[in-house]
């Protein structure tokens, strides 16, 4: 995935730093609570939500189980409709394909619709290295790009910024990228949106190449679907002469009819609306446009190979799990060190990137396992189940492995447990009161050492016949 986050420390260290930022915690709390309430009210409105949710899960399971067939069909349909299909095994290859396509047009600028896939592969940085400037056009992406910042949320990458911070970013940096912000800019959301409109207007009208992702790719018809709010998506998808869409292979829906499920699940789960303002659907080369589809693997087939972890590929990037997560609400998205933060990021990132780095190995632990994410997930991804599964797969230190091995040996036989309990009671004076030494020190940093009783419960029961004596 993107190089931006390389070398970040493990989640606990990042979390500690984020927790100390009271402005960040205030911004996140306000935003996540707003969206939670809105989602709940529009979900409640539908009497058949659980039926839709079950169908969404089942359709995506079909996508994944029969992925080869669906991919081939999608490729055929897009090609028949005048589009060109490219296959990218990893980020580097996808970036090279896009850069070559842009170079072939002779252009040095592209406009971008917000896309998780292109963030994941670090496309903007790769294009910059080739002398191509990628302009982000989604308001939140623009805030992140202008502020030279990192995204911290799937839907609203600048969720960690409040209105007055956004105003300052616009005033300080819009001029470096194009039309400057008006000098009398206020922090009214309406005025800020207006500033973005003016800043990007000319760019939309003149740029010849658009780059997007897609929310869905319909195998049956070859149709691509992009949901958005601002109209920047429509601009980038409609006006340029060349359109390049980078789409993860798991974004497939088998049939056109499947959209009836996902067009209900996604807007209500993500922005908490009955429907998002704009949804664009196109099949192949629409209205004379040159169209390229780049199908991206980049670790997805590794996730697919894990029968428990595979369900993470059902994700439709709605971000409802972020908005309800007590951990995300307090530490924000940056602590996860990935373009996929929050509960879904904690199971997706370690599977896409592997658990080779300290950060990635720590992500399955970035959760209290409360299960709120599973409850709101519109495709019923059992995130806690995958977290526990990944914890078992994560690398563990020798001392921890030894300790757990010893525990399993002791707990395996009642007689062993009894002997160890008696031994512990006899030497209980030697157990430190506050913090354990050596590898146990980290555990007792935030916990008390449990006191060893004088006598085990079972010995007490035997001695007193259950308290009768």
């Amino acid at each position: 995935m993107s190089g931006t986050f390389l070398g970040m420390p493990a989640f606990p260290r990042n979390a500690e730093k984020a927790l100390a930022d009271s402005q960040l915690r205030f911004n996140l709390r306000k935003a996540t609570h707003t969206i939670r309430g809105r989602r709940a009210s529009v979900v409640e409105e539908l009497p058949d939500w659980q039926g839709l949710r079950a169908a969404g899960k089942a359709i995506k399971d079909d996508t994944l189980r029969n992925l080869e067939r669906h991919l081939l069909q999608a490729e055929r349909m897009v090609t028949e409709a005048g589009g060109h299909v490219h296959w990218a095994a990893d980020a580097e290859e996808a970036n090279r394909i896009v850069a070559d396509l842009v170079r072939a047009t002779g252009q040095t600028e592209v406009v971008k619709v917000k896309s998780m896939a292109t963030q994941e592969i670090g496309l903007n940085e790769a294009l910059a290295a080739e002398g191509v400037t990628a302009y982000e056009t989604d308001l939140a992406e623009l805030i992140v790009q202008l502020g030279d910042d990192w995204p911290s949320h799937i839907l609203v990458p600048a969720i960690h910024r409040n209105r007055s911070e956004i105003r300052e970013i616009f005033l300080d940096h819009m001029g470096e990228w194009g039309r400057p912000a008006p000098a009398n800019l206020t922090d009214e959301p309406k005025t800020l949106a207006e500033a973005a409109r003016l800043h990007l207007r000319e760019r939309f009208l003149s740029t010849k190449v658009g780059v997007s992702g897609a929310n869905f790719l319909i195998a049956e018809t070859g149709t691509l679907v992009v949901l958005e709010s601002e109209g920047n998506g429509r601009m980038c998808l409609t006006l340029p002469e060349t359109l390049i869409s980078v789409v993860g292979i798991e974004k497939i829906l088998p049939t056109w009819r499947d959209l009836e499920v996902f067009l209900q699940l996604l807007p209500r789960s993500s922005t908490g609306e009955r429907m998002n303002p704009y949804t664009s659907m196109w099949t192949g080369a629409a209205e004379g446009q040159e169209f390229h589809l780049v199908l991206l693997d980049n670790g997805r087939t590794d996730v697919l190979a894990d029968e428990v972890g595979r369900q993470a590929l059902r994700c439709i990037r709605c971000s409802a799990c972020l908005n309800v997560c007590p951990v995300y609400e307090r530490v924000g998205g940056h602590a996860y060190g990935s373009v996929y933060p929050g509960p879904i990021g904690a199971i997706l990132t370690p599977q896409l990137r592997g658990m080779g780095s300290e950060l990635d190995a720590s992500l399955p632990y970035a959760s209290s396992l409360c299960g709120a994410c599973y409850d709101v997930c519109p495709v019923a991804i059992d995130i806690p189940e995958v977290l526990v599964h990944l914890r078992a797969k994560a690398p563990h230190r020798p001392a921890e492995r030894l300790g757990l091995k010893a525990a399993s040996w002791v707990l395996d036989r009642p007689a062993r447990l009894r002997r160890v309990q008696r031994l512990a009671s006899r030497f209980r004076g030697l157990v430190p009161k506050r913090s354990l030494p050596g590898p146990g020190a980290a555990w007792t940093q935030t916990r008390d050492v449990p006191s060893v009783p004088e006598e085990s419960f079972r010995d007490w029961w035997d001695r007193t016949e259950g308290g009768a004596r």
């Binding site: 039926g51 089942a58 939140a140 839907l155």
Partner: protein
Amino acid sequence: MSSRDVILARVRAAVAGSAPVGEAARAYRAPDGGAADLELFAERVRDYRAVVHVVPDDEVPAAVAAALAARGARRVVVPAGLPEEWLAALPGLERLVDDPPLAASALDAADGVLSACAAGVAETGTIVLDAGPGQGRRALTLLPDYHLCVVRAAQVVASVPDAVARLDPVRPLTWISGPSATSDIELNRVEGVHGPRTLEVIVAEPGTRTS
């Protein structure tokens, strides 16, 4: 081996041995094909802070004229195939016609666009355009800052499944739910970003006014 072959081989290997997955159960409200609730449609479109008028068929020309006059729109994009009678009350209107294709800058400078649509969805307050008659290519309804759309009662369906069943995926489709908006500032919805900042909808009911 091409990347295509590599990816397909990986996909095959990854799911080999997994239990087959049957057809998805669809335990939710199916398309019913029945008449939709026009009042609900109007109410849901209004919820997005769009302006909505429900008028009898024969009053559409007057409603169109009144809306354009109130907006002060004189140079208006008129897509090919728009019913001529809708413009009957506007003999002096300066029509911008997309033949030869209008430049983006000309669309940007227009006072507005008047269009028909392909479908309406009552439950979500959505209008769907499919580049058919009276709608034109997608840019026509995107660049002008004001979009006036006439929806016929028979085009309004009850739910999203009804709309999906009715639409043709081969055509470029645009689903519109209210004016352009964003939730990117503190997750609160604000209307008016890049798309038309004002959406006005005239719902044409069959018959004439009875009162």
